[in-house]
Every structure is written in structure tokens, then in C-alpha cells.
């Protein structure tokens, strides 16, 4: 997997990548009546659990698929590919005020 990651970085596509501890060490929050309530993992009822992720920059969904097909997984693993929302996806719903707030948040979060 280190080799695959290296290829992504060398191709200038990798924005981030992390592995996650198992859900047995995690928690879930449900919201009823405006109130958040926590329950502890593991979560046996769920069919799909996230174990880690890559954030990559690709020209198209097809390019992202081609890259992830090369990930060195044996049987059992599955990778789901989803496009990250950008400001332009929201059109007029993103008011100038919201856009300014979003940009400021991102700049500050990066520090």
C-alpha cells in the first residue's frame, strides 16, 4: 500500500489519506428532538464500514476509478469513489456571505 500511495503522491494527485481505528473503538451520535445522543461501537448492523480514505485530485470520475483499481487489495475490500463538493456546485444557494465564511473557515482550518 505504501508503494501505491507513493505513486499517487508522485503523480501529484494525493491531497490526504488516513486509516481509521475500528468501529469497536468508535461511537455514533443520533439526533432526535434536536438533541444528540451517543452510542458506543462496534456497529454490527451496518453492512459497510469505513476503514480509511484517500482524498485525491483527478480530472474525472473515470480517472479516479482507474487509479483506485490499482490499489493493492486482496478479496473483500471495496473502495467507494465520491466527488467532493466545491463552491461552484451550489450555484446561487451559496450567497456571497456564505462563500466568504466558507473560504475564511478553510483558510483558518489549514493553519
Amino acid at each position: 500500500m505504501g508503494k501505491f500511495n507513493e505513486e499517487l503522491v508522485n503523480a501529484g494527485m494525493m491531497e490526504a489519506g488516513e486509516g481509521l481505528h475500528p468501529s469497536s473503538k468508535g461511537a455514533r451520535i443520533r439526533y432526535a428532538g434536536g438533541q444528540g445522543r451517543a452510542s458506543r461501537g462496534p456497529f454490527p448492523l451496518t453492512d459497510d464500514l469505513v476503514a480509511g480514505f484517500w482524498l485525491i485530485k483527478a480530472g474525472s470520475l473515470d480517472e479516479a476509478i482507474d487509479w483506485m483499481k490499482r490499489a493493492p487489495f486482496g478479496g473483500g475490500a471495496e473502495i467507494e469513489i465520491r466527488q467532493v463538493f466545491s463552491a461552484e456546485d451550489f450555484g446561487d444557494a451559496l450567497t456571497p456571505q456564505l462563500r466568504e465564511q466558507e473560504e475564511r473557515l478553510r483558510a483558518q482550518a489549514k493553519k
Partner: protein
């Protein structure tokens, strides 16, 4: 400790590719994002396009097999995520509880793996990972 707050909106599994968000809900969520940021714990955050615009690559047969979304067998899908840096899982849970989420939404809290969590053997195999993270192309 770094934690992912994984937003799982029920029903998002069947959302159309051009899903529209409610500006009022976005405003409420931005207020929450701002609170995370002002507390100095926000590392990154993103929203994801619906699964109907995505794809899955599965390795069950040892060879990659591509399926286009939506994924009818999945009841729970990701709508977005935050990564935060806090002192404990309790603190991460307390922050997630403050999220102005709807009744159809669940936030799953999962700790991010650090090199210190692994055996020497794994750390050796993952040599260069930290440098790689430093070299990634952040926006």
C-alpha cells in the same frame, strides 16, 4: 488525538446526482463549523456528492470490479466529514452532540490511526508515510 466525524444522512443513498441543499440548513451547519474552527480543533471538512454520481471498485475476486452508483444494497452512505483534533474521544463525542443535525442523520466518530498505534513491523512497512502526508498537495 485526531478523529473523523463521519456524517451519515439516511436517504442520501438514493439522492439524485444534482441534489440541492437547503440554504437554511447550510447556514446552521456553517455556524457549527465556525464553532469548531474557533475552538481551534478543526483540521478539515468536506461534503460529498451523492452516491448516484459516484462509483465503487470492489476487490472480492482479487481483480478490481467497477460498479456505478447508486449502490442499492447500501442503506448507509457518507454525506461528508470533519476531521478534528481533540484531547479525548469524549471531547469528540461532545462536539458531535452539538451538531445541528436532523433526525435522519447520524454522525459516526472514529479515531484516526497514528504510526504510534502500530507494531514495529507495520511501521517499517509504512516507512515514509509521514513524509508523504507532508508532501500531499493541499489546496
Amino acid at each position: 488525538m485526531r478523529f473523523m466525524l463521519l456524517m451519515i444522512p439516511q436517504g442520501y443513498c438514493s439522492a439524485p446526482p444534482d441534489v440541492q441543499l437547503d440554504p437554511e440548513r447550510v447556514k446552521a451547519m456553517m455556524k457549527y463549523n465556525e464553532a469548531l474552527q474557533q475552538a481551534g480543533i478543526l483540521i478539515t471538512l468536506d461534503g460529498l456528492h451523492p452516491p448516484s454520481a459516484g462509483a465503487r471498485v470492489s476487490f472480492a475476486s482479487g481483480k478490481p470490479v467497477v460498479t456505478d452508483g447508486p449502490f442499492t444494497e447500501s442503506k448507509e452512505v457518507l454525506g461528508g466529514y470533519w476531521m478534528i483534533d481533540v484531547k479525548s474521544q469524549e471531547e469528540a463525542i461532545a462536539w458531535a452532540c452539538k451538531c445541528p443535525a436532523s433526525e435522519n442523520e447520524i454522525i459516526e466518530i472514529r479515531r484516526v490511526q497514528e504510526m504510534a498505534d502500530f507494531s514495529d513491523e507495520v511501521r517499517e512497512a509504512a516507512a515514509g508515510f509521514a513524509e508523504m502526508q507532508g508532501r500531499t498537495a493541499r489546496r
